[in-house]
């Protein structure tokens, strides 16, 4: 049986500006990445930037995802700025 929650993770600038490295949210039916972003952005303050001008990348279970990607109980969803390694 899978856990009925989602693990949300933030990296780099987003982690610092949101003051949050990870959080648990209850999983709900028919959830998508886009819906999750809107829900988090509606917290206001620095969270609004999740739907702001700067691009936000998202991975579901460590694979790159898009707004329409479904999100299910037990998933790990990560939000982060465009990558800058190398």
């Amino acid at each position: 049986m899978t856990d009925a929650t989602l693990t949300i993770r933030f990296f780099a600038r987003l982690r610092e500006e949101l003051g949050t490295e990870s959080l648990q949210l209850p999983a709900t039916p028919d959830q998508t990445v886009g819906g999750l972003l809107a829900e988090l952005a509606s917290r206001g303050g620095s969270w609004a930037q999740l739907q702001g001008d700067q691009p936000v990348m998202v991975a579901v279970n460590q694979a790159m995802a898009r707004p329409s990607t479904p999100v299910n109980a037990g998933d790990e969803v990560a939000f982060f700025p465009p990558v800058t390694g190398g």
Binding site: R9, F11, A12, R13, R15, E16, A59, Q62, A63, M64, A78, F80, P81, P82, V83, T84, G85, G86
Partner: protein, 148 residues
Amino acid sequence: MISIQTADFDVGTEYQSLRASGAGTGAVVTFSGLVRDSGDLSGVTGLFLEHYPGMTEQVIQGLIDEASQRWHVRQARVIHRVGRLALSDQIVFVGVCSAHRGDAFEACAFIMDALKTTAPFWKKEISGDDEHWVEQKTSDVERSQTWG
């Protein structure tokens, strides 16, 4: 093989290991990336590097697999450091060995270009008391796209 580590690496050791990949190896190409004194900020004194453990390794393995489908690659090695780094420190190593130089050059360049735009690493520049998360460069994205 892929290593994400805080520790430094030795290019000579990595080269010898690629060289020892067998008698079919006729070419070894290596790339090293270093901390530079200017980026988004001027007078950079160091970097902080963060990554997404697990996903980073998966993405890089995917790039090595793709390179191995497109070119003849006998062995590929990627090392990327994370944490605090000082000026001129080594950040990244990509080494590829192949039967011929053309494949080794191209596979090495492809892995490095694609790593920069797809592997989940983030760089923060430090300049005295100033800190700045580096923005993704359009030129890096365009360069990565030239591989198709």
